[in-house]
Amino acid sequence: MISNYIVIPGLTYGSQLALGALGITIVYSVLRFSNFAHGEFMSFGAMSSILLCWLFISLEINLYPLPTAILVLPIAIIFTIFYCLIVDKLIFKFYRQQNSKSVINLIVSIGVMFFTGGLIRFIVGPGDKNFFDGERFVFKAKTFKNFTGLNEGLTLKTTQGITILITVLLVILLFWFLNKTKTGKSMRAYSDNKDLALLSGINPEKVVLITWIITGTLACVAGTLYGLDKSYKPFTYLHLVLPIFSAAIVGGVGNPVGAIIGGFVIAFSELIITFAYKKIFFYFLPSFMVPEGLLQILSTDYKIAISFIILVLVLLIKPTGIYKGKVI
């Protein structure tokens, strides 16, 4: 029961936030600014997936029972990376060469955010798009009941299964890259101490390039997964950037482990607080005592507010975040 409505959705939503927060944290630690355009990069990734999906479906190429989106994801990732690199070359590079303060970069990233948002709506329009196809459930409540003999069913939607699986894979890959490869270590070194990295002969342009490749990948995957799970609507990504930032800060900015933990903290708090507890009481109390309302602590409309309350609390009590990150 609880696992159906809190644990699985929490893990799914948390994974999506974690992937987004990872992207923000990596840009922050290497390029030293808060990239508000990240939400729109995610949206761009999702849009690329949708366009490719349409193409593939019209060509009748699919991966049934998996959604076609999984098939096109690698190509969409390349598109997103390409877009990130173009934006960097045309915009961020200029400010990097000027040695601009991070505040200026932040404002620039907000500009990029609005531009990208506009571009996306121009290409696919502002409406809702559902690009999910394939088998809807990994197992339905009924099958689970029959299989395990338990009373209450457990459902796992395909999108949820895919989200969690891909996140785990991607995170393992990212940590392996950062901790074990020469290039990954040089990226961490550059983020740690830029001047000494230059003295050691680490090429800053290469580090920046790789940062955008990683960011583009993370953004595209996170955006596509979120779109698959919820349905794609360009405007939702404008809101999504807020819980993602909270996740990155709660976990400790600049710390990849923190970003993941932060993602799950935010996701679970949002779900626990907006969860309709009526169903639980339904089981424990005799039927005449079951209250009439939904018994939510707060309505789902306040979802985003919750991430901000957590953000404010963390900034007040432990400004460095759960894992020691950089103080902004």
Binding site: K185, N193, L199, S200, G201
Partner: protein, 234 residues
């Protein structure tokens, strides 16, 4: 014949000359120290030798070759190692990763040099996989020197290696510097602790207001009455 030398170097920030017409050099297997009061231009001269600051005048020779116009990274490849005064390690990388980063542009002797650095600083062996930022000041300095040694430099440049460490640790560090020099690497260092530094130096350069005041071997400078009175406190 100097292995590394700056001839008549003039440099500074903006239009102000911090160092003017200075001559500094170090020979193979020897230690040279640059000493002098605060603001004498010691660190600036050091930065200029490593190419972190453009020269307005003069030239820099390494092994007889003019390297005045090379970038710092290129100088590393030519055989120069530099340990900055502060922020000289990667705090969130492990000790071993710090050393690996030192060898980033030249991996040819990575294994051999890792062994050499751990032999030179045995205290670091146990802390191999610990984050360098968690180490004590003395051990951080060891990591910093180790990082610069990773490319097997012909000349090692240390900017105030004893800054912020206790006198006992400083003695230990100076012993290691002597050992490094004995093994054939030229060491050029800038030091606040003039007495200590001159004691182990083959050559000392006393700078004042960006100019060479005295140049002599370490012991003679220590005996020099003028130097003693002006800079060593009698």
């Amino acid at each position: 014949m100097f292995l590394l030398s700056g001839e008549n170097i003039t440099c500074g920030y903006g239009s102000v000359d911090i160092v003017s017409n200075c001559n500094i050099g170090v020979k193979k297997g020897e230690i040279s120290s640059i000493v002098g009061p605060n603001g004498a231009g010691k660190s600036t001269a050091m930065k200029a030798l490593f190419g972190l600051l453009p020269l307005k005048n003069g030239r820099i020779l390494l092994n007889g070759e003019d390297i005045t116009n090379l970038k710092p990274q290129q100088r590393v490849l030519k055989g120069m190692g530099f340990v900055p005064q502060s922020n000289n390690i990667f705090p969130s990388l492990t000790v071993q990763e710090n050393l690996e980063m030192g060898a980033f542009i030249d991996q040819s002797s990575l294994k051999e040099m890792l062994e050499y650095v751990f032999e030179l600083f045995p205290a670091l062996i146990d802390k191999k996989h610990q984050e360098a930022g968690e180490l004590s000041g003395g051990q951080r300095q060891q990591v910093a020197v180790g990082r610069a040694l990773m490319t097997k430099p012909k000349v090692l440049m240390l900017d105030e290696p004893s800054a912020g460490v206790s006198p006992i640790i400083m003695d230990g560090l100076f012993n290691k510097v002597l050992q490094i020099a004995k093994e054939g690497t030229a060491v050029l260092m800038v030091e606040q602790n003039a007495k200590q530094a001159l004691k182990i130096s083959n050559l000392g350069f006393v700078l004042n207001q960006g100019k060479n005041l005295f140049t002599d071997n370490g012991n003679s400078l220590l005996k020099n009455k003028q130097v003693r009175q002006a800079f060593l406190g009698g």
